[in-house]
């Protein structure tokens, strides 16, 4: 049976490297060695200085919710997951990325602190999932 959360296939070499790392629980962002720009998504050339001298660097996994929504009507292949709490997270390293937050839809707001949970990541599931960081 085909999984509904596979590694994306229509990608460049560098994007494929990214998804392989995610599948291994090693979530990274691109760091340009030429101009020090830290960016996401990864690209062959740094979008600031066009250098190809950049490296994947692991993220700490902590960040702050910037935008969020509880998706009640997703694409068909994710219909069984609803509601999906989706969030745009500002990583402590600076860049933003989109992930899911394993929480009740009422428990999230702009400014909520979250931490990446890599335990569920595999080649069958590369959706980044965060958990609430509560004090």
């Amino acid at each position: 049976m085909p999984t509904n959360k596979p590694i994306p296939t229509s990608t460049t070499e560098y994007e494929h490297q990214y998804w392989q790392r995610v599948a291994n629980g090693d979530v990274c962002i691109a760091h340009c060695q030429a101009c020090d720009h830290v960016y996401h998504p990864p690209r062959r050339y740094c979008p600031d200085c066009y250098s190809d001298e950049w490296e994947f660097e692991p993220i700490a996994g902590t960040g702050t919710v910037y935008g969020y929504t509880s998706i009640h009507r997703p694409t068909e292949r994710f219909a069984s997951d609803t509601p999906i709490v989706s969030a745009i997270i500002t990583l402590d390293e600076g860049p933003r990325l989109m992930g899911r937050v394993a929480c009740d839809s009422e428990a999230i707001a702009v400014g909520t602190r979250v931490r990446l949970d890599t335990s569920g990541l595999s080649s069958d599931n590369v959706r980044l999932t965060f958990e609430l960081l509560t004090k």
Partner: protein
């Protein structure tokens, strides 16, 4: 060597270039003169090319022109991309040969941008009479569920593939609610205004014709918090066209000319996660530039045509265009200013939320409605003495922004 004196002038005097080119060596003042619309709805049973021809036919009839009078085209590719939609349309519409042809490419900002492109091509003599057309059979030819799935497939894999487009906009909506205390009801009120304006249209002109209260809109099924189904654009069949030509032609044809007095555009990002700030879109700079060029202030705007793929789009853009203070969009909605009787009647046709959203052609109805208003032909939703309209387009996920100021000119013919 003086090219004009030694090469062009002798050719012109010997009429080698023909009358049309001789005329175009003088700078031309471009104006919009008329428009056409297909019916809109769910089952027009027409293909892309047929709908484009339908819209074109109505536009040509509106201004009393023949297909042969058209020498320029700006068109919009169908949802399912043809490899070469332009030559296909040029032949299909019977408007060949053309001097100027372009395909739009900035989504919902395309059609506002097209006004500017057409005006420029006329000003610099590339063409004299340009057809801008956009139509598609999004509902009957492709189908709502397929459209939603295919649009989601086009979203980058670096965003969650569970997203349908509404959930991408919803991130900004919740940001606005949390940051400024805007209420869900204030957002829903924007859809209520759209539904009311659509309910006043002739039946064939509005996909939905049912007035709805904000509470009813909030009761619709939730798509992605806080956006209910009634706060998301329709999926429709339909399209429209408008004609841009010279001031001289407008007078000869006895049409009320509408001038493009200001234009601005700004494009900022692709991924919603990479939007620089949820508190500002490119509409800030696009709007400032357009209003400065037109030398108009907010008080001068009689009709507001704001791209409304979702309620949050309107709220965000109204603030960015300076119709209220940043964060006060909810209060502006509550004030009644956006109603038909208010200071800035909004989307007087009903917009993408209630009138029609045939995919890529969506924003063209905001322009044809502006023309209706400025030419005094808006029937039940006519705004008294409408002489200046602001038309806005938004493409992608707040990615591309364009703003045009349109002003009614004087009809010179007696």
């Amino acid at each position: 060597m003086d090219v004009f004196q030694h090469v062009l002038a002798p050719m012109i005097s010997s009429n080698l270039l023909g009358d049309r080119y001789r005329m175009q060596l003088r700078p031309m003042k471009p104006v919009l003169i008329g428009y056409g619309e297909t019916s809109v709805g769910e089952s027009l049973n027409c293909r892309y090319e047929e709908l484009n021809m339908w819209a074109t036919r109505e536009a040509l009839r509106d201004v009393d022109l023949e297909p042969d009078d058209i020498d320029g085209l700006i068109a919009t590719a169908p949802f399912r991309t043809e490899r070469f939609p332009l030559p296909r349309l040029i032949e299909y519409l019977g408007i060949a040969p053309l001097n100027f042809a372009e395909l739009t490419g900035v989504g919902g900002a395309s059609h506002v941008t097209s006004i500017h492109r057409a005006a420029g091509a006329i000003e610099n003599g590339q063409a004299e009479t340009i057809l801008v057309v956009a139509a598609d059979a999004l509902h009957s030819d492709i189908g709502p569920r397929t459209v939603i799935e295919e649009l989601s497939d086009s979203v980058s894999e670096f965003e969650d593939p569970a997203n349908i487009v509404p959930s991408l906009y919803a991130h900004v909506a919740n940001w606005h609610l949390d940051t400024f205390g805007t209420t869900r009801k204030q957002l829903a009120e924007i859809a209520a205004i759209a539904h009311e304006h659509a309910s006043l249209q002739r039946a064939e002109r509005a996909h939905r014709q049912e007035a709805k209260s904000a509470d009813e809109i909030l009761d619709a099924p939730m798509v992605a918090t806080p956006l209910t189904a009634d706060q998301c654009a329709l999926i429709s069949d339909g399209g429209a066209a408008f004609i841009v030509t010279t001031e001289e032609n407008a007078a000869e044809l006895d049409q009320v000319p509408v001038r493009l007095t200001g234009f601005g555009a700004r494009h900022t990002h692709d991924h919603i996660s990479q939007m620089p700030s949820f508190n500002e879109t490119g509409a800030i700079e696009a709007g400032q530039r357009a209003m400065a060029e037109a030398t108009v202030d907010h008080a001068d705007i009689d009709v507001l045509q704001i791209y409304d793929c979702f309620t949050i789009t309107v709220l965000r853009i109204l603030e960015d265009l300076g119709f209220c203070e940043r964060g006060n969009g909810g209060d502006l909605v509550d004030s009644g200013a956006l109603r038909l009787t208010g200071k800035w009647p909004l989307n007087t046709h009903g917009g993408a939320l209630a009138q029609a959203h045939p995919g890529m052609p969506c924003g063209i109805f905001h322009i044809t409605e502006a023309l209706r208003q400025l030419q005094g032909r808006a029937e039940a939703t006519q705004v008294d003495n409408a002489s200046t309209a602001l038309v806005h387009g938004n493409g992608g996920i707040f990615s591309t922004q364009a703003v045009a100021i349109l002003e009614r000119g004087e009809c010179h013919a007696d």
